[in-house]
């Protein structure tokens, strides 16, 4: 009976991490399945929906996570994961230098087509993605963590290593910038 209980017990995060450390490929896959959405979504929303770039970032983050396994348990695992994801995005943006386009993000097609496209409801979310990708990283990261990942102000502050006041102020400015930039789409919400 006791044995059966042990067999059916759901492994804890620390069990999973320990198994990953010992090179257990199934455990690594389980950790990936559980967390890929977090990493990929942050990268997708950070880079304005550029799927290839987001996949590259996801690959880099998980390689770092699974090969180095240098999570020391100083914070929650997900906090640490978000932190290395945000750092990977920032590094990539820095490498790309200048402004983050990212081929095709702002390509709005042919002459005169912009507003017709915007009229489509799915294009509102595309316009939001583009507007977020154009925010300064300082403002963009809290917005992505808040609205893509649903983190609280305290959790965002933990990921970024700053105070709640700083998070609050950056979100204030991020919201204002989005309202100014997308105000003409108000009716489509």
């Amino acid at each position: 009976m006791e044995r059966l209980a042990l067999m059916t017990e759901i492994p804890t995060k620390s069990d999973l991490l320990a198994a990953c450390r010992s090179g257990d490929r199934e455990a690594m896959h389980a950790l990936y399945v559980e967390n890929q959405r977090r990493v990929f979504s942050v990268a997708m929303n950070y880079f304005g929906g550029n799927r290839d770039l987001a996949e590259d970032i996801t690959q880099k983050v998980f390689l770092k996570l699974l090969v180095k396994m240098d999570f020391r348990g100083d914070s929650e695992f997900t906090t640490w994961l978000y932190r290395i994801t945000v750092n990977a995005c920032t590094d990539e943006a820095r490498k790309m230098n200048r402004f983050v386009d990212i081929a095709g993000i702002f390509d709005l097609g042919s002459f005169g087509g912009v507003q017709q496209l915007m009229a489509e409801s799915e294009e509102v979310s595309a316009a939001v993605q583009r507007a977020i990708a154009k925010l300064r990283p300082k403002l963009r990261v809290p917005i992505v963590l808040k609205y893509s990942e649903g983190l609280s102000y305290q959790e965002i502050a933990d990921v970024l290593g700053c105070s709640i006041g700083t998070v609050s102020s950056r979100l204030n400015r991020g919201h204002q910038a989005l309202a100014a930039k997308l105000g003409h789409l108000r009716g489509a919400l």
Binding site: F62, V100, D101, F106, I132, R136, K181, L182
Partner: protein, 416 residues
């Protein structure tokens, strides 16, 4: 007593991040404070837009790539030599490879420096700087790739076959790759180099990517015709006669230039798409950095996220945000290309939003003085003039003040 406002707490209020009593306190304040309420509405709108963001799942190939990378990084180098206690040959293998490499390099060095030269060839190499015709003929015997009457600048060049090797391309040409179909360069459809004066043409199913010296590349899209005007360390210049190109350039400003029938696009370090339609009119859409669009002494500096149109016979348009409203864009088009005057300026101002700041700045020197006053008032709503920039100065189009304000506009434009 001065009233307390809550603007810095409004995001936390909208996101319900405050305690119940704080939420209540701010809620009550908003009932009576119009300025905080206005700000609250803006933040709430920004929050509603941000809430459109969705989560995404990766494709299965990502895990495959991760596994492959882990396998490659973790496995030891394969070897055909089994490791044995007696010889430890696997440990020896890297040294053997290194020894072979060193031997190979030494051999190359030896033959480069001390290779035997036929007696017949030694004489002309030793002659003074101005070889006689006889000497040149003798060089020609040794170096059959040189024409018999070619000028030989010095002896070392004369005995270096690579100097005239056909594999080494002229620096005044660019390599291009065919991305689709069959782009043509003059009559030679298979050539993959574009020399100065050459025209590259794509049909409806062809695309090509040109390597612009060592500063970037330009994709030539279908139904396009481009000509290489010149290339040297000071300037690389293409002409887009029709069609569309997408340029990605990493270089100091003004090194890469594209001529169109109606304007000149000067790269200031950027990525952009440039289209020229059948009438010769062009549309520039900058996606990274800045491009200066110039014509007849007039200049539009177009930042990433903005566009600019030129029309044949009508001149250079004013840059605008790629995501501006249709009403704003149509008013601007009336101003730029249909002599819309003050009426068009009124419509521009009535339909403006935050990211139209780039248009407003460009309009300052292009409008009548009475309209300039209104443009000034509209622009200061979005971008405060920096120290030293005054209304009077802007009204008289003081160059330094305009430049200082433009820099501030560009800073805000990119920082949001």
């Amino acid at each position: 007593m001065r009233e307390k406002h809550y603007i810095s707490e409004l995001s936390a209020f909208v996101n319900h991040e405050l305690s119940t009593s704080e939420q209540q306190q701010i809620g009550e304040h908003l009932m009576q404070c119009a300025s905080c309420r206005r700000e609250h509405d803006r933040i709430k709108l920004g929050s509603a837009f941000a809430a459109q963001m969705v989560q995404h799942d990766t494709s299965p190939r990502v895990w495959d790539k991760i596994e492959n990378a882990m396998d490659a990084g973790h496995s030891r180098p394969m070897t055909l030599i089994p490791k044995t206690a007696a010889f430890g040959l696997r440990d020896f293998a890297p040294y053997a490879v290194a020894a072979v490499l060193v031997f190979g390099l030494a051999t190359i060095a030896y033959f480069s420096l001390f290779r035997p030269v036929p007696d017949q060839a030694r004489k002309p190499v030793a002659v003074p700087d101005q070889p006689s015709q006889q000497v040149q003929r003798e060089i020609a015997v040794v170096q059959p790739t040189l024409p018999a009457n070619s000028a030989v600048p010095n002896s070392s060049a004369a005995v270096t076959p690579d100097a005239t090797s056909p594999e080494i391309a002229s620096p005044a040409s660019w390599q291009f790759d065919i991305l689709a179909g069959s782009p043509t360069v003059g009559a030679a459809s298979t050539a993959n180099r574009l020399a100065v004066g050459d025209v590259l043409e794509t049909d409806a199913s062809s695309r090509a990517r040109i390597a612009v010296a060592d500063i970037g590349n330009v994709e030539i899209r279908p139904n396009s015709r481009v000509k290489l005007i010149g290339t040297d360390p000071k300037q690389h210049r293409l002409s887009l006669e029709r069609g569309s190109l997408h340029a990605k350039i990493i270089a100091p400003p003004r090194l890469f230039i594209v001529d169109t029938p109606t304007a000149v696009a000067v790269d200031l370090g950027c990525e952009y798409t440039l289209d020229v339609d059948k009438s010769g009119s062009s549309k520039l859409h900058v996606t990274s950095g800045f491009v200066s669009l110039e014509r007849g002494g007039r200049e539009s500096i177009v930042p990433a996220g903005a566009m600019c149109i030129t029309k044949k016979g009508k001149g250079l348009g004013t840059p605008f945000s790629a995501e501006t409203s249709e009403a704003f864009r149509s008013a601007l088009e009336r101003f730029d290309f249909a002599s819309g005057g003050s009426n068009a300026v009124q419509a521009i101002l009535a339909n403006r939003n935050f990211y139209d700041m780039i248009t407003l700045w460009h309009l300052l020197p292009r409008v009548q003085k009475a309209d300039r006053d209104k443009i000034y008032d509209a622009l200061i709503e979005y971008v405060k003039p920096p120290n030293g920039v005054t209304r009077d100065g802007i009204m008289r189009l003081d160059k330094k003040m305009l430049t200082d304000w433009r820099e501030e506009v560009e800073r805000i434009w990119f920082e949001g």
